[in-house]
């Protein structure tokens, strides 16, 4: 299944924020987590994650710090802050609205289906 590009882009922010809500993390691991969660269906070019992370940091939802990887390489870690947690709730509400609207129309379609035959 090919998921629409706009949808992938729109879901990226809540996904990344939700993953960081689980704890401090870095780019590659976030990417892997997205892959695992979506069963590999949600795919974007790996590199694009970074401009997004930087944007979230600039918007004040997450904070970054430099640490070390297991092999001693410098690695940039990201952490959610209070404003980011608020943003998650906000995003969740938005998605719930979209979801319930979609569910409503699906139910209506099921109701209408027999009359059409």
């Amino acid at each position: 299944m090919d998921i629409n590009k706009d949808l992938v882009a729109a879901s990226a922010t809540p996904l990344v924020l939700a993953i960081l809500n689980e704890g401090e993390n870095y780019g590659y691991a976030i990417q892997k987590r997205v892959n695992d969660l979506s069963g590999g269906e949600l795919e974007w070019a790996d590199g694009m994650l970074y401009p997004l992370l930087h944007r979230l940091e600039r918007n004040g939802y997450i904070e970054s710090s430099w640490g070390k990887s297991e092999t001693g390489r410098r690695r940039k870690y990201y952490k959610l802050n209070d404003q980011g947690r608020k943003e998650i709730t906000n995003q969740k509400r938005q998605w719930q609205v979209v979801e319930s609207a979609l569910r409503g129309i699906r139910l209506a379609a099921v109701d209408l289906a027999p009359q059409k035959i």
């Binding site: 974007w44 790996d46 590199g47 970074y50 930087h54 092999t71 940039k76």
Partner: protein, 455 residues
């Protein structure tokens, strides 16, 4: 963990390629590299070999152009080349602080130098003889410090320092021991020519004593153009600063005019010389040179001006009215045309074939020559009637020095347009001619006063 040399090499190449992109800072590249490393490591463990792992990891990272575009839209400020004066986290500082403090130190030293004579009873806003003292010695308040800055920056040895000291000492002796009277013509001419002579001497330090090299001379020409533009800009800012200083203190009933005239103005005028020099050096590989841009803008306009002027002059059969100012005015016109020529040469790719701009440039030089020949002819007839004076000889000499340069440039340019000569020969001619200005300036400073008996 075993090292994967091949993979490391690939990543090293990738890193240096990424670092060339202006919108990516080194920390961004480092972060992406960490991703690439982790990804390739995971792929290696799943059984790919090093080449394959690297290729797949890079592919997954995505198209580099769209990635840099994404970064660029995230950091729009990075598209504008910045002369960064503050060091951001992880970003290579474009300004070396040792260099900056040396420049500021020299600027302060120059400011101190211009205030020093006041301790010996020669105030800068004093009598006419005090003003004459400052005018005679104006070069020495600032150019030695600019020279010292470049001597330090280029790491030149004592012998080169001593060699450079010779013209400065010679100038100081001439200006202070020759019996110039106030308002003497030869004295005034020496005052005007000494800064040129010494500026060219500073080129010795700028070029790390490699003043014979054509490339180094061209670099000094580029430096001079940019320096001038920066100096004018800083001067405009300084004017605003002084204007507001006077204005706000006036508002509370205090007169700041004296402070401005005796302190801010003289210190600023000399300090800005060094600061501009330092800024031009610091920005030269970050920001596009301004002089060639102005040249591109004004070459067509001046060409039109001169063609119209020539046409009207010939049409109305006018003769140039010879006054002293006319002589100087036409000298300046030649200097300007030479400047336009020099700075378009300085930015041009010598290998490019002749284009429409070259035709314009050639026309400009040719018209300037014609206009100047008309002027010289008029002057010549006047001189044969009224004889020589230091001013006339100086202006005439300058005219000839420039005329020879532009005349031969015209010949070379024509050859280039007809594809008989290379553009490099024009560049060589210009850089090779530079010592002529130096020698002429010294003739006016050193020989004129003696020959014309300090008139």
């Amino acid at each position: 963990m075993k090292t994967n040399q091949k993979l490391e090499d690939h990543i090293g190449e990738w890193r240096s390629y990424m670092k060339k992109r202006r919108t990516l800072h080194s920390t961004d590249v480092e972060e992406l590299e960490d991703h690439l490393q982790s990804q390739s490591q995971a792929l290696l463990e799943s059984g790919l070999d090093e080449d394959e792992a690297f290729l797949v990891a890079v592919k997954r990272l995505g198209d580099i152009d769209s990635l840099t575009r994404e970064f660029a839209s995230e950091y729009s400020d990075r598209i504008w080349k910045q002369l960064v004066l503050s060091k951001d986290e992880g970003e290579e500082a474009l300004v070396d602080w040792r260099d900056a403090s040396m420049a500021v130190g020299m600027a302060v030293a120059a400011a101190a130098a211009i205030k020093l004579p006041e301790l010996f009873g020669i105030p800068i806003d004093g009598s006419e003889s005090d003003a004459f003292f400052y005018a005679r010695n104006s070069s020495f308040f600032v150019l030695p410090f600019l020279a010292a800055y470049f001597l330090w920056k280029r790491g030149l040895g004592w012998i080169d320092c001593l060699r450079l000291a010779v013209p400065f000492l010679a100038g100081a002796i001439i200006m202070n021991l020759f019996p110039f009277k106030m308002e003497s013509h030869t004295g005034l001419l020496a005052m005007l020519h000494l800064p040129i002579a010494l500026w060219l001497a500073v080129g010795f330090a700028y070029s790390s004593a490699l003043w014979r090299s054509h490339e180094q001379r061209m670099n000094y020409i580029r430096f001079t153009g940019e320096w001038f533009i920066y100096y004018v800009l800083i001067g405009l800012g300084g004017g605003v600063l002084m204007g507001f200083t006077i204005f706000i203190f006036e508002a509370i009933g205090l007169d700041a005019e004296h402070i401005v005239q005796a302190w801010i103005m003289p210190c600023g005028v000399v300090g800005a010389v060094i600061i501009s020099g330092w800024l031009v050096e610091a920005k030269k590989n970050i920001i596009e040179n301004m002089a060639p841009v102005l040249t591109k803008l004004f070459t067509p306009l001046f060409t039109v001006l001169l063609i119209v002027f020539l046409a009207i002059m010939i049409w109305t059969e006018s003769v140039i009215d010879v006054k002293r100012e006319v002589l100087i005015g036409f000298d300046l016109l030649l200097v300007l045309v030479l400047g336009l020529l020099l700075y378009s040469i300085s930015a041009r790719n010598p290998e490019a074939p002749p284009g429409i701009f070259d035709v314009l440039q050639f026309l400009l030089v040719f018209c300037a020559l014609l206009v100047d020949l008309f002027a010289l002819w008029a002057i010549g007839t006047r001189i044969s009637e009224f004889g020589f004076s230091p001013n006339k000889v100086a202006a005439l000499g300058e005219n000839l020095v420039l005329l020879v340069n532009l005349g031969w440039s015209c010949v070379i340019y024509a050859g280039f347009l007809m594809r008989r000569r290379s553009f490099t020969s024009l560049e060589r001619w210009q850089t090779g001619y530079a010592p002529v200005y130096f020698i002429w300036a010294w003739i006016v400073v050193l020989i004129f006063p003696v020959v014309f008996n300090y008139q």
